[in-house]
Symmetry: D2
């Protein structure tokens, strides 16, 4: 399914992304990119360092959009499992997340993701499995 700029703009205006500081920038043909300008509230307990669960939120979300970008209109996806490697402390925002689907079967999709800083240093890596389900999200394709 094609996700237009207007769709993304509407998508990015939601309470979760505002709370975290997340903006999805692109979702196209099984790939997605996002940017995290973290709200100071989610940089705890180490000041200036994004909490690992928030990095999980960013990667899970970006992977979901990578999957979603390849699905037909009446389909959606939900995470079955998520495996994360925390490689370096997530300091010095903004941070950049990319995600790419490696394979679709009819009911499952396998995805990988990374978070890097502005210097291109990898801070976290993830792989996840999504289940493909019948469901329509309101904020897209109205």
């Amino acid at each position: 399914m094609e996700i237009s700029r207007t769709d993304l703009q509407r998508l990015n205006d939601n309470p979760l992304y505002h709370t975290v500081g997340l903006r999805v920038e692109e979702a196209f043909d099984g790939k997605a990119r996002s940017c995290l300008t973290p709200n100071p509230n989610v940089c705890w307990p180490f000041p200036g360092q994004v909490h690992g669960g928030i990095l999980a939120t960013v990667m899970d979300t970006t992977m979901a959009w990578a999957v979603f970008s390849k699905l037909e209109e009446n389909l959606n996806c939900t995470t079955i499992n998520l495996d994360i490697q925390y490689i370096h402390p997530a300091k010095q925002p903004p941070l950049y997340c990319s995600a790419e689907t490696s394979q679709y079967t009819r009911r499952l999709c396998f995805v990988r993701s990374e978070i890097r800083n502005a210097d291109g240093q990898i801070l976290a890596a993830a792989q996840a499995t999504f289940r493909i389900i019948r469901a329509t999200l309101d904020f897209v394709s109205q």
Copy 2:
């Protein structure tokens, strides 16, 4: 290290936990328990259902406190990897998280965690590895 009720009370009063709706209730002898009364902002894109990355935040945090409760005073821990299974949609709060360390080596700690609803149904499960580091957190044992 013993974490007193006063320590926990001080601990729970931080911006991340307020943002999410998390309260750590106990951390003792390698085990910890917490409760999530989710802020509506983190229940997105499905209304009333906690986002998977927020469940990751809850389990990562609760596991960290399980580890921390067994460390000496000048030590702390940081997550190396986190693996999560999303078993059922996380609806009908409050949700309850428990964590238990399975093994300590000198530099590593292995932990498991679960999130259940009030009926005791398991919604998510996790296992994680933490690295033990030298660092003191301000809000404990002053």
Copy 3:
């Protein structure tokens, strides 16, 4: 599906289990137990220590039997993802593996597993997701 002693006996007489040194001892109501008396060939590169991939084989197999024990006759299962923690070196056999399903949906099953030594010390832990498929294995229930 009930797996009788005769089924198990027939099951255990296969080339993979002989190669590894594995014997499934019980598979009942979503739980399974197995015993590994490792072939010296799979204790490499550290003499007397079972290779981590062989521990993965043991846990994956034991979890599959835990799943299988709860399925109807014309169903089988296949691993989607497998996450392993290597906690202590796997020395001093025999080793004991247990597995337990935590939840079934119609198409997926979530499982956990552990390997312990004779003293009960935990050596490895795993969690896995299985997909439930239509397929019959020859060696059971003929």
Copy 4:
């Protein structure tokens, strides 16, 4: 540490690799490649399809050599955790495994790996964390 062709030849002549059908072909600068021509004994319970635990053995081993290729002479590595996605059935050998380290810290190394068939189709993906330890393997650099 440089691993010469002679080292690799000696390395490949060991009981585990013979049992499985594995040959490491290259290990250089944090990357490694191997080839699996599976012994029929490890293709069970589905004839002609490599067991998932054996794929774990192949990826764990190839990742270890990727790590090892960057370590100094008196250091070695051991797997802490291993996460695997099983994407497609592992049929039609030979299969090809590649591994690449994404990041070293002083005590840990993060690695990713894939198994593909001759057509380049991805069959399995993994990410793992290794601990770096002091230990010398006999079969290298004598």
